[in-house]
């Protein structure tokens, strides 16, 4: 009987050993002497026509091992992919290297290759690029004007995508409403800032001569497919491996020019070539997140029921599509969150601007919609004199309503159908955890301190991206290798997947090794994003586990000449009704098979695809208590409670880690982080001195609780846990800040970050600031 690795244990991670001792192999650790460094020459203009690219100062330099520019790229080379285009989207794709026009500061224009990164940077500095400046478009407001300069004149508009949703009869509901609320929220651009910058390395595989590309990516399988398309190398001649990835959060969920360039350099100059992003480049040329303008109107009855919401979203996607650039804006479809709101309409448009491309970043568009909807609830409560918890109570979808078709669809997951949840229970649990009822007394006792409390629900899509394959290989001593398509990016997926499979098969955790992130080993899978790892990877692993059980039973039946029904799998072993002397382990089965000259290892190698639609909806209720220093404007988050429902939990230790990490990213967005551009479109933050990230001192005291309403959509009953921490935090913290400021203070909605400067400006608008 094996109970060593049950599903649900707070198992310590198997990933930790090498990471704690400095033996984890990240991309930079793969660089060997003799490999060449690639340096990208980047545009210094936001919008300009390229007049010339002059390599003459480097061409004869003995350190120069090669140069690349658009002119030297293969004829008819494709452009970087986007996977969330719908009918009618205008194909504003990136070239690998800019042709004719540059559209943002940092855009790759050329590349030089040298023996090391120092020499490559020397050379890159000497490549002369001539520009004729064009007027830049630096925000969506300018971008949609009829007389705006066009980034892509062939499209006749900077609006490259639009999605429209409609449920019920919003106009009628607005006409009948007792109260109308309208707000416009501006969300600033943020940088995901994974601690490991991006990087890629192309080399030839010894023995086979295939091209082997290593990349710090969340999507090695897709990267291989796209590299094949772009370079013309047949897929089977390409292998892509993601080594340890030092954080992703969406920024490594795209196919980037540099990944293509190292492979082209290998092909063209015959040298293994690497590119390591430096932090300054990350701020220019890695995807950014969030920026949009969201106008929301709500119709509310006197009793506090929100009867309709209308939303108009203009997403600033930067200069071109980068993989999932439409998704954040289009996610406005899920604006209503946990609230019934029978009538709904929305329009989401993506606007190209002369800035770094936008892509999904932890939560995609959900942090924006969460903040907007949750602010609307507070504003409605305030206008009606209702308690903030009470107004939510009156609008929440009941626990018996599932499955619930929300009548809208969502990019990447089709129709929005809430699978399960218990929103009222989340609310009551969080109110208790944060001591909601004791808060007025705490606030009154705070003396000079001004406290504020904010609530926020979040309902977030998880597990999109399509079917998930998995395979299992059995090793001679009976141990298993799970071949998974889920790329580890720090979330501990190897531990979780091993737990799930071990629990499913009744084997000890140590019997299972997890192999991922290598296109040779792991099956062709979508990759790691949309909080899909544990749910899809886990269910796929179980499916493969079932196939393994069937194969093992069949093999045993053959060997012992018994009918298949007489052989059962129980607690990791085969049990026969008769004839099988005693429980037979996999190792025993293999030995027995060998005695009969049967190659059991081949027979027991299985693979399958988890095909069922597994888009499930994770929900949570967050509450934050903030302290506002009225004379300095400094905001500190003191306490933070979350009741989280991600269905059944494979490993609570890791889920809690995901939530806390997510909350701190939401906190960073709310209080500190912003990528801004000057009037010529030059990014103002190019390092961590200017881009302010949260530190330990900013972390609140956490109170985390869980409610498990299993998802009926997948056998494990799981839902994703990677993003709702981040999305809920922006809503709760923004509401807490508004609460601390008080109802008389105009709240600059969403125009984060709520820096001390911004907070004092809000207080000033009311006039008179210090009461102390």
């Amino acid at each position: 009987m094996n109970t060593a690795a049950p599903f649900g244990e707070r198992a310590r991670r198997r990933e930790d050993g090498p990471l704690l001792t400095g033996k984890g192999v990240f991309l930079a650790d793969l660089i060997r002497p003799g490999m060449a460094a690639l340096r990208v020459v980047r545009s210094t203009r936001a919008h300009a026509r390229i007049t010339h690219i002059d390599f003459s100062a480097v061409a004869n330099d003995p350190h120069c091992l090669g140069v690349l520019s658009a002119a030297t790229l293969p004829e008819g080379m494709g452009r970087l992919p986007a996977i969330d285009l719908v009918e009618g989207s205008l194909p504003a794709h990136h070239d690998i290297l800019a042709r004719e026009v540059v559209r943002y500061v940092g855009e790759p224009v050329a590349a030089v290759i040298a023996a090391d990164a120092y020499l490559a940077e020397d050379l890159a500095a000497r490549v002369a690029v001539g520009y004729d400046s064009l007027p830049p478009v630096l925000n969506v407001g300018e971008g949609i004007r009829a007389d705006a300069p066009l980034l892509y004149p062939q499209f006749a508009s900077n609006v490259v995508h639009q999605t429209i949703q409609r449920v019920g009869d919003p106009e009628a509901a607005f006409a009948r409403a007792d109260l109308l609320i309208e707000e416009t929220f501006h969300f600033q651009r943020v940088c995901a800032s994974a601690m490991e910058p991006r990087g890629a390395l192309a080399t030839l595989e010894p023995g086979t001569g295939r091209s082997l590309v290593y990349s710090s990516t969340q999507i090695p399988q897709i990267l291989r497919r796209e590299l094949a398309r772009l370079t013309g190398i047949p897929v089977e001649r390409l292998r892509v491996i993601a080594p340890q990835v030092g954080g992703g959060f969406g920024v490594k969920e795209a196919v980037y020019a540099e990944e293509v360039l190292v492979l082209l350099a290998l092909q063209r100059f015959g040298r293994p070539t690497y590119w390591l992003e430096d932090r300054q480049e990350s701020f220019l040329a890695s995807s950014q997140g969030r920026e949009e303008t969201l106008r929301v109107r709500a119709a509310v009855t006197a009793a506090g029921e929100v009867t309709a919401v209308d939303a108009d979203c203009l997403a600033d996607i930067g200069a071109a599509y980068l993989f999932l650039s439409n998704t954040p804006g289009a996610a406005v479809a899920s604006l209503r969150g946990p609230y019934r709101i029978a009538n709904f309409s929305s329009r989401a448009r993506s606007v190209v601007t002369n800035k770094t491309p936008l892509n999904v970043y932890r939560g995609a568009g959900c942090p924006q919609t969460t903040l907007a909807m949750e602010r609307m609830m507070d504003l409605a409560a305030q206008a009606l004199g209702l308690d903030r918890a009470e107004i939510r109570r009156r609008n929440l979808i009941g626990p018996d309503a599932f499955p619930l078709d929300r009548g809208v669809s969502y990019p990447g997951c089709g129709r929005v159908i809430f699978d399960s949840g218990n929103f009222p229970a989340l609310l009551e649990s969080t109110l208790e955890a944060i001591d909601y009822h004791g808060f007025p007394a705490r606030r009154a006792a705070a003396g000079e301190r001004t406290l504020g409390l904010g609530l926020s629900f979040v309902v977030e899509m998880s597990g999109g991206g399509g079917a998930e394959p998995a395979g299992i290989r059995v090793l001679p001593e009976g141990r298993l290798q799970l071949l998974s398509g889920i790329t580890p990016i720090g979330q501990g997926s190897a531990t979780t997947l091993a737990q799930i499979l071990a629990g499913h098969l009744g084997l000890p955790l140590t019997a299972i090794e997890v192999l991922t992130a290598d296109t040779d080993q792991s099956p062709d899978a979508p990759g790691t994003f949309a909080s899909r790892g544990a749910t899809l990877g886990g269910n796929a692993a179980c499916l493969a586990g079932d196939l393994l059980i069937r194969e093992a039973r069949q093999l045993a039946a053959t060997l012992y000449e018994l009918p298949l029904e007489d052989i059962r799998w129980q607690n990791g072993e085969l049990i026969g009704r008769a004839g099988v002397p005693e429980p037979l382990s996999l190792a025993g089965l293999i030995t027995k098979a060998q005695e009969h000259g049967i190659d059991a290892l081949r027979r027991l190698q299985v693979s399958g695809r988890y095909e069922r639609d597994a888009v499930s909806w994770t929900s949570a209720c967050h509450a934050a208590i903030v302290d506002l220093e009225r004379d300095t404007g400094i905001i500190r988050v003191l306490d933070y409670a979350v009741t989280h429902d991600c269905g059944r939990i494979a490993n609570p230790l890791l889920v809690d880690g995901q939530i806390m990490g997510g909350v701190l990213q939401g906190l960073g967005q709310c209080l500190f982080e912003a990528q801004r551009f000057d009037e010529r479109g030059v990014p103002l933050t190019q390092g961590f001195m200017d881009y302010v990230l949260p530190t330990a001192a900013t972390a609140p005291r956490f109170i985390l609780r869980h409610i498990e309403t299993p998802s009926p959509l997948n056998p494990l009953g799981m839902k994703g846990a990677g993003e709702a921490g981040c999305s809920g935090a922006v809503g709760a913290i923004a509401n807490a800040i508004a609460d601390a400021l008080g109802p008389q203070v105009p709240f600059l909605n969403g125009s984060g970050p709520f820096t001390p400067e911004c907070v004092l400006a809000m207080l000033r608008r009311r006039g008179g600031h210090h009461e102390a």
């Binding site: 310590r12 991670r13 990933e15 930790d16 050993g17 090498p18 990471l19 704690l20 001792t21 400095g22 033996k23 984890g24 192999v25 990240f26 930079a28 650790d29 660089i31 990164a117 120092y118 995901a192 800032s193 994974a194 601690m195 490991e196 910058p197 340890q244 990835v245 030092g246 954080g247 959060f249 430096d278 932090r279 990016i489 720090g490 979330q491 501990g492 230790l653 890791l654 809690d656 880690g657 939530i659 806390m660 990490g661 997510g662 909350v663 701190l664 990213q665 390092g687 961590f688 001195m689 990230l693 949260p694 530190t695 330990a696 001192a697 900013t698 972390a699 005291r701 956490f702 921490g725």
Partner: protein, 159 residues
């Protein structure tokens, strides 16, 4: 380009090398001294990922030149047992174990620098209160963990 010969003791092993004078210590340690455990996340001194101990003083390896370490002893994550004053080759150190127990790392990229700095910090201040721990952590960025577990892991090992 000017190069200099340097002698450095890295994690107890004496090394000699000829290095360009502009080579950063972080690059030297990673590329020539085999210290893959030293991570560079920002390259401008803010994140703390590259923290090593140079002649007993914690420093940012990305803000020093390799030639400046000439004649010095450098300790990286491989010297963590020594920095914590425990026997090497005996599995994880108490700090490493605590990080594991409290799930104080996710992607692990920030971890080695954080462990080196924390070991050194605790050696000089064995029972820090929370405020001291936060002051120490001010020099380290972690984008994954949310910090709470890092604080808990350090609190659990203080004397």
């Amino acid at each position: 380009m000017q190069c200099l010969d340097i002698r450095v003791i890295v994690d107890g092993k004496a090394l000699t090398a000829t290095v360009p004078v502009r080579l950063l210590l972080s690059d030297f340690l990673r590329e020539q001294a085999g210290c893959g455990g030293l991570h560079v996340a920002c390259g401008h001194g803010v994140c703390g990922a590259c923290t090593v101990v140079l002649d007993d003083v914690p420093v940012r390896a990305c803000l020093l030149l390799a030639v400046q370490a000439d004649g010095a002893a450098v300790q990286t994550i491989a010297s963590l047992p020594q920095l914590e004053g425990c026997e090497p080759e005996r599995g994880l150190t108490p700090l490493q174990q605590s990080f594991r127990r409290y799930h104080a790392l996710q992607c692990g990229y920030c971890t080695p620098g954080l462990l080196v700095a924390t070991a050194k910090f605790l050696a000089g201040c064995p029972s820090p209160d929370r405020a001291r721990i936060l002051e120490h952590l001010n020099g380290h960025l972690c984008r994954c963990s949310g910090y709470a577990n890092i604080i808990a892991a350090i609190e659990a090992v203080r004397a």
